[in-house]
């Protein structure tokens, strides 16, 4: 087994770590920009576009943070050793979720529902049409049941709360043993609030074993809960903006793209913060190389599932399915031109560019090119979410894209969420062990030294 770098270097760095001023400054500035943009939106653009911009920012951020956390779940579930050095960075994104949860509650309770066509007037049940013996009386009138404010709000907040609680139990099991180990070394320099995570444990080895057991037990539950909760968040928050349109791939497509944004966020953070966190000896190029490969796979899966939705809709050419795409893509049959450039930009930002660039081995290993491609994908996903939401909140737009509102309001609000995530994650990483120091799977496995000829080639 190869010799591990010294974990004490990482632990010692925790004691006096502070968030760099530039990070606090930029993060704070972005939050201010977001707030100003929202103020501009309510004052100038109108309530619907502003709530739409907030929805895009919220969904993008919630997806990103939970998606980043899912990297830790994936590593646990697959016994993946390659990504252990970035496991804690992935977990640190959980701390943004409670803040976003409060913002989501605010969105749902204080006016955000106004952008949904089914609110405040519920959708009418379909009119009687003669399709006997497909008896319309026997048809389940699902919209008046599913798309009602009380049930809608309860679903979003309840589902996300359950997921966050499961995440937290997992996080505590992962973080506690590392905090105990760091506490033993740092003594009184260790923050007192760590004890709430350590929970009375005194032996690092036993705490680590117990923590691993909890994580192994929880990973599949969280995976299942994530798939379900995010599918329904996608159906409800995004798909129900156009309440008569439906595609059963939508939930899966969205939750996979959220994991993808999470990978990118972990990639950016790992590259930018590794020296600050004393992780230079751990986050080596081969780690980001593997993360980049995972991002490439997610990129292909995103495109695959998008194509899987587009192709049958195009082929069948049924109005109830095509109208959602025609509004965005444009076309001869009543399509709008306003959103066409976005519809053309999204596949470039989310598939063509990342796919082409991530094929390169070098890009995945070099700091700034990797940060650049991760940032490009993150922006691309913002554009993708905007493309879903914006045509619904600008119903009067037909040919002219609302450029000013997009740049000031939508991009501004999104930057606000970027700033919020930056502030929370950097402050959390400054205060917790940034590496899973007690994890028995940290470091290479002996078999990695003699597995396959290609592995030896890969290692060089």
């Amino acid at each position: 087994m190869s010799a591990h770098p010294d974990i004490n270097v990482v632990i010692d760095g925790i004691a006096d770590r502070k968030v760099p001023g530039i990070v606090m400054g930029v993060g704070g500035l972005l939050v201010v920009i977001g707030l100003v943009a929202a103020g501009y939106g309510f004052a100038v653009a109108g309530a619907a576009p502003t709530w739409g911009a907030i929805l895009v920012g919220l969904f993008w951020s919630i997806g990103l943070c939970q998606g980043a956390f899912m990297l830790s779940i994936i590593l646990t579930g697959t016994w993946g050793r390659w990504g252990r050095p970035i496991k804690r960075i992935a977990e640190s994104f959980w701390f943004v979720l409670p803040v976003l949860y409060v913002l989501l509650a605010g969105f749902l309770l204080f006016g955000g529902l106004g952008i949904y066509k089914w609110h405040p007037t519920p959708l009418a049940p379909i009119e009687h049409i003669s399709i006997e013996p497909h008896n319309v009386a026997a048809t389940w009138r699902s919209k008046p049941i599913w798309l009602t404010p009380g049930f809608f709000i309860a679903r979003q907040l309840g589902g996300l709360l359950i997921l966050m609680i499961l995440d937290f139990v997992y996080l505590r099991a992962s973080l506690g043993p590392d905090m105990l180990q760091a506490q033993e070394r740092l003594g009184k320099k260790a923050p007192g609030w760590w004890n709430s995570f350590i929970g009375g444990q005194s032996n690092v080895k036993r705490a680590s074993e117990a923590g691993q057991a909890v994580q192994s037990t929880l990973f599949w539950m969280i995976g299942l809960a994530y798939a379900l909760v995010f599918s329904f968040l996608a159906f409800d928050l995004l798909m129900s903006l156009e309440p008569w349109w439906y595609t059963n791939m939508f939930g899966g497509w969205v939750f996979v793209s959220c994991v993808w944004t999470g990978f990118c966020a972990v990639g950016v953070t790992s590259m930018l913060a590794r020296d600050w966190l004393n992780l230079g000896d751990w986050i080596k190029p081969k780690v980001t190389h593997d993360l980049g490969k995972l991002m490439l796979a997610a990129c292909m899966f995103w495109a695959y599932t998008l194509f899987a939705q587009l192709l049958p809709v195009w082929y069948a050419n049924m109005p109830e399915e095509t109208q959602f795409f025609l509004v965005r893509i444009g076309g001869e049959e009543g399509g709008l031109t306003a959103w066409r450039w976005m519809a053309q930009t999204v596949p470039i930002l989310c598939f063509v560019a990342p796919f082409t660039i991530l094929l390169s081995r070098g890009v995945k290993k070099m700091r700034w090119p990797f940060v650049a491609i991760c940032s490009l994908i993150l922006f691309g996903m913002f554009m993708e979410r905007s493309l879903i939401v914006m045509p619904q909140v600008y119903p009067d737009v037909s040919d002219t894209f609302p450029t000013t509102h997009f740049l000031v309001l939508h991009v501004g609000v999104w930057l606000g969420f970027v700033g919020l995530i930056t502030l929370v994650v950097s402050n959390v990483l400054a205060r917790i062990p940034p590496l899973v120091t007690s994890d028995p799977h940290l470091g290479d496995h002996p078999w990695d030294q003699h597995v396959h000829s290609l592995d030896a080639h890969h290692a060089h």
Binding site: E132, T217, F235, T247, T305, A308, Q309, P312, D455
Partner: protein
């Protein structure tokens, strides 16, 4: 501490390169009575299927119960089933190779063989289904002067290309992997057998240059085969999803079909390898560790499948589209024609794999074998449930009817299993079903003059 796959299920390794050779080559010895009995049974069933096909050619498609509106019956169900079975081999050999999963080593060769034979079996069914077998060349885009040209807009045509590409790449990938191992067989045999293995091993000598090219080619084929694993069953799913038929026109079909194919393929690998392991005493090469990982793959894909079933029903309900609701709830109506098929499918594919969440069950050979067999039944039922129920209960109530396969169709279904098993049994006895060279990579390299070198 949580169970660690690296310490709990680590395979027993052979002591030396020589021992690995001897263990695998042992299959070439005189076959046992049990093997011969199995082979005879498979050939008999295959011949029965062939006779049923002859009956169909002799008397026409009337002997099969496929007619309006259920023009796709058991033949297409079984076609999709075998294509699905053919998924796991390339998944295990190519994708797990690319992600450096070590547990593939013991099982990938047999899985690859299974893939090739399963696709060979699947390819029979379009021929069988079309009735006039002598006109099957119409499938292919050959130059001619009769203005006959296939409809490239048809998903069925896409299928021809997707599956033939998949078969070609899988077969080449399978053969490339076999070359160094066939050379070992060649070196341990005599006479005509040696000449045949010599021909098949393409002059392999194990030189550095050959290994260099071999590894490059193997990696290349793995990278080429990996996307085909996704594409082939996605294209098969579009045979259905492109149609406006209620219950078929579904955007989730491609990943749902791929997950189902991997589930059925992995279950079939367990079903085939479990008896082989005991019959040939391969416990050093294929053991609990491999089966447990295959079971985990099944658990994951079963969860994806359950999710897809659930989403189909939820969105069918949410859509408030009466036709969507009608077909989905008719399928699930226990008193309806095919209600039993739906519940059998749910039981076999969603509920039966659940015990595999428990480590002890995953490590019990009987539990593995039985649950894998149940999954295989369930995956056939899934295709039956999708294909038959939507056609038998389409938009126009005047056309509704109850389809049930005739004895000819059942016979051909059984014959396809006989055909598949015959090929697989012959393979086990003539070619290395465990990858000797990759097994050796897990053994410490021998030092000149030491025991390991002998």
């Amino acid at each position: 501490m949580a169970t660690d796959v690296y310490t709990s299920g680590e395979p027993n390794r052979p002591d030396s390169y020589g021992a690995a050779n001897r263990d695998i080559i042992r299959v070439l010895l005189k076959p046992s009575v049990a093997y011969l009995a199995l082979l005879a049974t498979s050939i008999s069933v295959m011949l029965f299927g062939g006779w049923c096909w002859y009956m169909q050619i002799r008397w026409g498609m009337g002997v099969a119960n496929i007619t309006h509106p259920t023009m796709w019956g058991v033949y297409i169900v079984t076609f999709v089933f075998w294509v699905g079975i053919g998924h796991a081999g390339t998944l295990i050999s190519a994708i797990l190779f690319l992600v450096r999963s070590r547990w593939r080593t013991g099982v990938y060769r047999a899985s690859e063989a299974m893939t090739v034979f399963a696709v060979m079996t699947a390819l029979l069914f379009p021929v069988l289904h079309l009735g006039r077998v002598w006109q099957n060349y119409w499938f292919f885009p050959y130059p001619n002067q009769r203005q006959l040209w296939m409809n490239f807009k048809s998903p069925l045509m896409w299928d021809v290309f997707a599956i033939s590409t998949y078969f070609t790449v899988s077969a080449i990938f399978f053969y490339v992997g076999l070359v160094p191992d066939i050379a070992i067989f060649r070196d341990h045999s005599k006479g005509l057998v040696r000449r045949i293995y010599g021909l098949l091993s393409l002059g392999w000598r194990g030189t550095h240059r050959q290994w260099h090219h071999y590894m490059a080619a193997y990696g290349f084929f793995a990278a080429l085969a990996a996307p085909l694993v996704l594409s082939v069953h996605s294209v098969v799913s579009w045979d259905f999803a492109m149609a406006n038929t209620a219950g078929w026109h579904s955007t989730i079909f491609p990943p749902y079909f791929v997950a189902g194919a991997i589930l059925s393929g992995c279950a079939m690998v367990i079903s085939l390898l479990m008896p082989m392991t005991y019959a040939f005493n391969w416990h050093k090469y294929v053991n609990t560790w491999h089966f447990e990982n295959l079971a985990k793959m099944c658990v994951l894909t079963s969860a994806i499948l359950s999710y897809a079933y659930g989403m189909e029903y939820f969105v069918g309900w949410y859509s408030q589209n009466p036709y969507e609701q009608a077909i989905f709830f008719w399928r699930a109506d226990p008193s309806a024609d095919y209600g039993w098929a739906f519940y059998l499918m749910v039981f076999c594919n969603c509920l039966a794999p659940l015990p595999w969440y428990i480590t002890k069950v995953r490590r019990n050979p009987w539990a593995l074998f039985i649950i894998a067999a149940i999954i295989n039944v369930g995956m056939w039922m899934e295709r039956f449930n999708i294909i038959v129920s939507s056609l038998a209960h389409n938009f126009d109530p005047a056309t509704w009817w109850f389809y049930w396969p005739s004895w000819v169709e059942w016979g051909i279904l059984a014959g396809s299993a006989g055909w598949f098993c015959t090929w697989f049994l012959l393979f086990c006895k003539t070619l290395p079903a465990v990858a000797i060279t990759e097994i050796k990579e897990m053994i410490p390299p021998p030092v000149k003059g030491s025991l390991e070198a002998k």
